[in-house]
Symmetry: C2
Subunit: 140 residues, 2 copies
């Protein structure tokens, strides 16, 4: 069985607000958008931001709550990249949950919530190699 | 800015229960594990299952709740693969939220919650190409 994640879909309440965060904060360009969903092509998978009630209907699960017990991470190439990106995300409508510091396992990271309260870890992790297409491998 | 997700981390309450679901249900092999966290190497990113209270401490966010307003998707090669995988996941401690059917946008899919209530969409999506390493591209 392939160890494979095809899509991460985040429920959002305000399409323009979310789009602003991802396009101005991260600098990402949608590959598709309509009134309900925006897709971003990522490193071997797709990120979707989907109207929360439409996601609930699709999942057949109507009790969705935030903040969920999960986080997404975006790794950057240099330690010095962490804080400027966190600042840009905050300026684009994000909220800093944990200012950047050095975790016990090494590297450097902080957390920012997107406008719908989904948490992103912005991390410099020198033991996890990343190729030119952004594909990451676990390392120690 | 790279359109890049390095890690998806799910908060879990019972390490053995979660490990059973991912290893027996999906058939995935950890690349690293200790008492707090299990990592799985995926298609260009890493999946982590992390003790929920340790995740909360790392995120500096102590009000984590489920079910979160997000879903993960695992695409399969054939329509006929969807239901057997959903059944295997249910047998390994998952819970079917939505039995498989055909969504308006095409393909075939259902949803299964993992033992910690994180939702996985199991999908056949013939318009989204997937290469031999499981890397997916958006398609129409």
């Amino acid at each position: 069985m392939q160890q494979q994640i095809s899509v991460i879909t985040l429920g959002i309440d305000d399409r323009a607000r979310s789009r602003h965060f991802y396009s101005e904060g991260f600098g990402w360009t949608p590959i598709f958008e309509n009134d309900e969903i925006i897709f971003y092509q990522m490193n071997g998978l797709v990120l979707g931001t989907f109207d929360r009630s439409a996601l609930a209907k699709d999942m057949n699960r109507f009790d969705l709550v935030t903040p969920g017990a999960f986080s997404l991470a975006h790794n950057v190439a240099e330690k010095e990249d962490v804080e400027p990106l966190m600042a840009r995300l905050a300026q684009a409508g994000g909220r800093i949950i944990r200012p950047a510091d050095a975790p016990p396992h090494g590297g450097y990271r902080g957390y920012v919530a997107d406008p719908d309260d989904h948490a992103w870890e912005i991390a410099w992790n020198p033991t996890w190699p990343m190729d030119a297409e952004g594909r990451v491998r676990f390392g120690l």
